[in-house]
């Protein structure tokens, strides 16, 4: 590393849940980027005809894929809600310590509820049986 002044980085901060909300948002974004690869694969397979789609579907319906879908849905719920918090911050509002701590709890609760709703909708046994 060059000998130059560095801006404050992860290692200099005391860990707190407000920090976790930021790291989680990045992590969720990474998972969603992986989801984008799956979306492209799915669309290309669909455009390639019945047989290609049947092959892709056999792969995408494997039991282990459910964990991936669960992770994607949780990442989507969290990134959506935490991203909205960032957009509010960008207007200069909600940056005070007290407000930021409270909004951390709000986005945690809202995204957990949203995740549970999405998990139920997409992964319940009766969903997409065909």
């Amino acid at each position: 590393m060059p000998e130059r002044p560095l801006s404050p980085f992860l290692t200099v901060y005391k860990f707190k849940y407000t920090l976790a909300t930021s790291i989680l948002n990045r992590f969720a974004g990474l998972i969603l980027s992986a989801g984008l690869v799956m979306l492209v694969y799915w669309l290309v397979a669909l455009a390639s005809g019945v047989r290609a789609y049947a092959q892709a579907r056999a792969l995408l319906s494997l039991g282990v894929m459910k964990f991936l879908y669960a992770a994607l849905l949780a990442a989507f719920a969290y990134h959506l809600i935490a991203g909205m918090r960032h957009l509010v911050w960008d207007t200069g509002r909600g940056l005070e310590k007290k407000t930021a701590e409270r909004s951390a709890w709000v986005i945690a609760c809202v995204s957990i509820v949203l995740t549970l709703i999405l998990l139920y909708c997409f992964l319940r046994p009766a969903a997409y049986t065909q």
Binding site: M1, R26, G29, L30, L32, S33, L36, V37, L39, V40, L43, V44, L46, A47, S48, V50, Y53, A54, R57, F76, L80, G83, M84, H86, L87, D90, L118, C121, F122, Y128, T129, Q130
Partner: protein, 128 residues
Amino acid sequence: MSLRSPLGRVLGRGAAKEGVHHWWLQRLTSIALVPLSIGFVVSLLALPALDYSTLIAWVRQGGTALGLILFVLVAARHSQLGLRVVIEDYVHTVGLKTLALVLVDFSHVVGAAAAVLAVIKIASGGRW
């Protein structure tokens, strides 16, 4: 050791004057992705099944194709901007960092183009 002061070294080099471009695009795409991603998820949930004929009919109906194309394009741009920041923050080896950034940019363009082509192909009903 240089006798020039740190100030003297940077004077005259000028500013890039595009510092907020990345930040602004990340915000623009995130705003657009709120309705686009929710629309995609709700639209998927409204489908009775995920078999071939249902999905083909779905892509061909109403605004699905346009929605899918916009969603994929904006999501790809947002993802590319986001991954760029992650790489810039955590990959410190110069060569590796550049390679990672190039791969991220290329793969996002390829992915987005492939998805858009797929949607157009389905929507136009063409075999080509």
